[in-house]
Amino acid sequence: MEKRTSDKTCVIIGASHAGANCVMELRKQGWQGRIILIDADAHIPYHRPPLSKAYLSMDDGADFNPLFDKERYREEDITLKLGHTVTSVDSGSRSIILDDGTSISYDALVLATGASALIPPIEGLSACDKVRVLRNAADAKAIQSDFKAAKNKRVVVIGGGYIGLETAASLKKMGGDVRVLEREERILARVAPRELAQFFQKLHTENGVRIHTGVSVRKVRETSEGITVICTDGSTYKADFILVGTGVRPNVFLAEQMGADLENGIKVNDQLQTAVEGVWAIGDVAQFYHPRYKKWMRLESVQNAVDQAKVVASNITGSPKVYDALPWFWSDQFHVKLQMVGLSAGYTDLVVRTETDREDCFSIWYFKNNELLAVDAVNNGKAFVLGTKFVKNKTLVDKKKLGDSTIPFKPNVLMKKESNVD
């Protein structure tokens, strides 16, 4: 291995999936110099998806599932600065300053600063001290302790997106009296088609979560009796605490200080480089150009964080790579596993494939004319894995056969033969 980086320092700000994987990848790909990983969160970097699921019902004292063991950071000679925030950056002198006054010089800087939950401007909401969001371990702990302390276990979730619904399902399973208030006419309005939203609405309703759509919260009032959530249609709901899941705002403060290009996140080129020399951005915070889709986007997912970490490490260690990974996501709610691959935006038609021999097992296939864009698979790992292959390889799919449950779900059956092309 070349030693050309041995006297250099790479600083990574943000130690979640993107940042923690980035430091490990840097070593794997031959970075010989110093690596410093910084995060305001004092925990050893941990898996985030279980925050809205298993972590909520976790015993006191149990630990969050680490991305890598503490020993691994030692073995790889990674300096951890956990529990510290970066107060300022100077891209001219290539240095950062921590909250304890320490100044650190860098040769390469990776911003993996993620995103923060948005609190909508609703009267009384930010003043209420029983309002929670769910982004990190401290948030999960706070929800857990509010839930334990809640006399009537009444929870109002504002926002029917994935975070809101996953948390609603978990709190319901823990015995909560859970209500979800969604401003749009249906849940998952921005992220899923009607077919999928209807399925999840039914799933939650059957499991005792009350979902109210087309309902805007006007005001939140807190008294000694508890919290009252007042909606614009006059309906009111009592709550012991509120969970807000209404989207996020990328954490661009440091990038802004350096004069990086910003536009719903930190703008990076196809190699994940910002406009500032020596500075890169990855994960939830990065607004990147995806060559596959020929458009700019920002993705909030484990896949995006992990795959961008690998690409940025390769670019920093001198083997240029373009980021063009196929996006995939998952969500677990009650007994349902939803797995999604590709991006469905811009689809012209969709095919719903139902496996009639199984309960709650189906998949939604999105097409732009004949091109398969994306697949959402519900309790259907087969559709997820096969859909991934088909999307990746741009396989032509026979839509008629796909939509017919009596036709076996097999790759060679579903692939369109050239002679059959309409």
């Binding site: 890598f68 484990v302 992990v306 790992g381 997820f384 894995v385």
Partner: protein
């Protein structure tokens, strides 16, 4: 205490002893090539696919429906395929050998 052996695509052998966790976590911890475990062990990503030595395959609890589904169309699937995040470390698997599938 269970002894676990991983054989990678390139034929390298990795041997470890463990008392808890699962075979994916143990492999990730020790940087066994070809096992990523991106989803953290919830059977969502299929990046921990292994072939279990036949004499051990039958000793394991049968795979869940979602695991079998994930494996059916995965690359290099065999009748001894498993997602190793679903194989807990226990005395039952002491001496097990698994080949990394991808």
């Amino acid at each position: 205490m269970a002894k676990i052996t991983y054989i990678t695509k390139s034929g390298e052998t990795f041997e470890y002893e463990a008392t808890s966790g699962n075979l994916m976590e143990l492999a990730v911890k020790n940087k066994v090539p070809g096992i990523d475990g991106d989803c953290g062990g919830v059977c969502s990503c299929a990046t921990c696919h292994v072939h279990v030595a036949p004499e051990f395959y039958g000793k394991l609890d049968a795979p869940s429906e979602i695991e079998s589904d994930m494996l059916e169309f995965d690359d290099n699937v065999s009748e001894y395929s498993r997602l190793c995040c679903q194989i807990p470390v226990s005395d039952l698997v002491d001496g097990i050998k698994v080949e990394v599938a991808n």
